[in-house]
Symmetry: D2
Subunit: 352 residues, 4 copies
């Protein structure tokens, strides 16, 4: 349904990715990642990132994030992240169990982005070597953020340097990495290893795959023993070619970037339309998520008209407008965006 | 490659299952299992098992087993299983981490099947209520077993009754459940809940799916809080329809049984051929795995001729024949089996 | 050293408690808590609290808190507490590991006490039943608080009712419970089970014991399986009589209350003296901790004169006075307090 | 009661150790191990073992073993031990939880001692680098063993070399280390670091202390981050001087060796007496444990006469004699042993 802005994970898969599954379904193949498709994938990602990489395909963003963070954070460690980060609020404690008991230290960001000053203060205030306290071990940045904003390479670098200076590893939750990348217009390397990222969760599921994410290590030493963690968490897929094939097709011919551009363009169109109508955007729309203030009655009327999206954060009080999140995706269309805006115009007088 | 008897997971997917993915790829769908395909799947499995069920599709057998066992076994509990069980030797300790620190108690079986007397003795010897010792909490039976044999309903029932009598829950690792079922020729219910099984890991991956297993609870109360465990282990798939669709197609028109019959028939043909040639089968061939003693030189010659299979257990000494495992699958063919036997005949004089 | 105000755990043990160890050291005694002293202890605590109780002596407050909380909070649960609570900042993540991966949700309190409105909002904002989020499971209140303040029975009751209304269990961290109790002047029952507390960590170590705390369950059902947890965490002491004897002597003849009164009286004397001198107390002094603003130079001069106490929180900037914590104990004396004040007077002109 | 042979933990504490507590109870002392007694203890143990050491006093053998093993074994690792080892059967899974999910691999020994051939085979049969299987990480030897026997330095060395050769760390569970040492008559170093032991759990509780064990690292690098593990497991004692003082007094003037000699001598006297009476000792009596076959009626009659000891292993069938364990301790006496034998003589005709 083109009117479903609930999440980018309500979409199906891009046909080219389904085709790749069919193509991979030929003959016998070594299991557990020793197949040819999986081997090619690592080389492909090395080319994409202009750097040697160690790659582990997995089936969910939660798995990718938690497996990656467990490589950086011991049981007595702390993972520093923004308050609204997916790892902190949407994974039911997964990083804690994967790290064997690690702790999340959250900091309120600005439009979803951590502020260097806050990170500096938090690191300065941690008691290094004090046995009574968990020890900062990893920084995780969400790119694009949960507010639909994007860190610039310079912003990533500033935070990563600070983290490295205190001995922390740096992870990037890239569930919407492609959306961030096309916004920035930079090379994948610029906003990852060149900016200090040690390991990336590269998400394809929200951007055209069925279920496929890649944990990409730029520092191979940090991948040591990953394979045991993956297996004991149940995340080693036996017919690995069917994961790798999704990722290979997604990267081929810049499909991932084209899909992300489409999602972002529709988000920009929607943001523009909302702005023209005097509706307040909560944060700049830099990727494929729009956060907008709407009168509650109008939001309900839009839902009644068949559009789907979520209320965000605490419910409004005293008749104030509510905050709503709309997400565009790789298969969003101008027609769909315009239909939403037209319906909104039609409903607005009655709802207001 | 038709000559790959390494495992049933070297095979691809059945075309009908790929077709189902394409069919499921229509429009937007609610994520996390609230979609229509997933809803239909639970009803379908209730019909298959003639019992109400609570169903959770996951992507690997290790995840299915460990998530199921975690529902039955507290951190201070013990899971009783056969020495060679997949949970004990092939999952890198997954049941331990999913249960929060549970322990596996292994018992040597007979051709992979636990003996009631051994279970009785082990339960009698456990010190119930003794705070110094982990407490037996779950019994897990592998069906078909790791030796390619099959428990009868009566055998399952005898063990399950004993387990229930001591307060244990009963799990069945059904990575090759379909292969066992067609061997038995009974109803799915007969060898599961009617025989005392509380929860089943129903495996489709080895039998025609890309990656799809279902955790099937016959006792819904035992499924409480499963959804939190699944999520925090990274096993909640956002585009769930793509897991459910595989399972739905696999069950439709008895595809799962037809595929298992094909695998079993090829295994029987291979076993018969090996027997005719005077080669010793280690255990009865009741499903799709053959364990055979071969002169090491012959095994190596077969590998050299392009066939693939694994040596099993400890390496032979003093020129004794080795033990080898060959696995047939849903796409094995009589032609492929005969080619193996013909090659074996050709190589045998030279190798001997 | 009477001038050590660093913590109440720098003190030794009260002679009566050492005498009790000697008295308990007679003949053989059943191990692991089946001895006579341990049996008597449970009866004694039932009398003290006017309620049946299940009691487990342990050797540290961290163990007591974490073992108690693990009974209330599943791996996917959240424990709600004040931001500065010992469980949150001084136990190196112990509650996380004991609960098998639970999460701490912190809320800023007022002088260390949680505000009902904040708890209400946090519970209202939690997404009950949402598999993506950890589920609130326990409330823990520190009595006396980390700010040296005390919850009244009515305050405990208001918070506990709210917690129970959402299905949470209620724990009290009573590392300084005796200090709180003598401040309140109420019965032990009034501020525990009568106010809705399900389980109490009752601390004796800071108040005259060598190392002894008791986990006291008022709801016996909530103690189920505690003995396995305790053992597997290494906290089952074999010669239990030596733990129980400390607690028994501590409770006998109201020794625990007398010692707490002495500590509190000295704290009050110190607070009064500081106030008289125009020095600002950060929070009301209701137990045995004093938080006071001192010029940094004065604090350093006092340290130089042989007094010991800790700077608290973030270091002051721009020449502002610093915040310091001084803790009195069961063996503090008026003479010691007056010596501190006299020295302060002597140093003050020079330091200012 | 001198007739209690149930365990060496039914005894109280040696008076010199209680005296040491009183002596340590002077003035204020820095908490958490920064006190003078704790500092002296590390130097003392370095002298005892003729090697630099890093020492952590804890309150139970389970804590000492599990904390030590967690330093050697990652969550995906296996700890190799004898089938009857305390860590395997008497700690309710503690090593599993402390290691974050490690696995115990047990091997049947000979009179409690692991055989080099079995260890060699087990290590050879492990699949190093195979992600499906837990990886051997630590060897733990119990000294004296659970059968009351003792490894010679050469035996320890042979096993430790094998373990080190496969990259495993070597731990010694020395709950009864002193008893083993006085049997061997060698230097403490000879049977620990000189023989390849990396870390020792040195037990004092069973040999005269109230509750005190020391984790002694001979390889300081292996102690890294131990302090965080100890704290988060609730095993950091605030008034550490009261743990350290026990250990210091226990080591002073060879008290630990004198107490162990007394226990061993009484065990030898008892073993000799039983042998003279034609009663079968199950294993050589080399420390302070005696395993003897007794007619069940005789054992019951002895219990009836006020002696206490435990039946061991599976109950006897068909009227065969049972196996019983008797443990002598630091405060056992010749008189007590003779009283037991005399009573046995008196009861034997009637019981037989």
């Amino acid at each position: 349904m083109s009117g479903n802005f609930g999440s980018d994970n309500v979409t199906g898969a891009h046909p080219a990715i389904l085709d790749a599954l069919v193509a991979a379904n030929t003959g016998a193949a070594a299991s557990y990642g020793a197949d040819e498709v999986s081997t090619r994938l690592e080389a492909r990602l090395a080319a994409v990132f202009e750097h040697e990489v160690t790659v582990f395909p997995v089936i969910s963003g939660t798995a990718a994030n938690s497996l990656a963070l467990a490589q950086l954070c011991p049981p007595w460690g702390a993972i520093l992240c923004e308050t609204g980060a997916h790892v902190a609020v949407d994974e039911c404690g997964a990083p804690t169990v994967f790290t064997g008991g690690g702790t999340l230290w959250t900091m309120d960001g600005e439009a979803g982005r951590l502020r260097p000053g806050d990170l500096r203060a938090r690191l300065a205030g941690s008691r290094a070597g004090d046995q009574h306290q968990v020890q900062p071990a990893a920084l995780t940045l969400t790119q694009a953020t949960e507010c639909g904003t994007v860190y610039t390479p310079a912003e990533v670098q500033a935070l990563a340097e600070m983290a490295h200076g205190h001995g922390l590893g740096v992870h990037m939750d890239g569930a919407r990495f492609a959306n961030a990348l096309v916004h920035l217009g930079c090379a994948p390397a610029d906003v990852t290893w060149r900016a200090g990222v040690d390991v990336l969760s590269l998400g394809a599921t929200k951007n055209g795959a069925l279920m496929a994410e890649a944990v990409v290590f730029f520092d191979r030493a940090k991948a040591e023993n990953f394979l045991y963690r993956r297996k004991r968490m149940g995340h080693l897929v036996s017919k690995m070619r069917f994961l790798s094939a999704q990722l290979e097709a997604w990267l081929a011919d810049d499909l991932w970037l084209r899909l992300a551009r489409q999602a972002n363009a529709c988000a920009a169109r929607l943001a523009h339309g909302l702005g023209q109508r005097g509706l307040a955007l909560e944060w700049p729309v830099e990727a494929n998520e729009i956060f907008v203030r709407l009168p509650v009655a109008l939001a309900e009327a839009l839902e009644g008209a068949g559009f789907h999206f979520y209320a965000w954060g605490d419910p409004p009080t005293n008749g104030a407008p509510g905050l709503y999140r709309l997400v565009t995706a790789w298969n969003s269309t101008d027609v769909g965006i315009d239909a939403f805006l037209t319906t909104l115009d039609a409903l607005r007088p009655a709802a207001a």
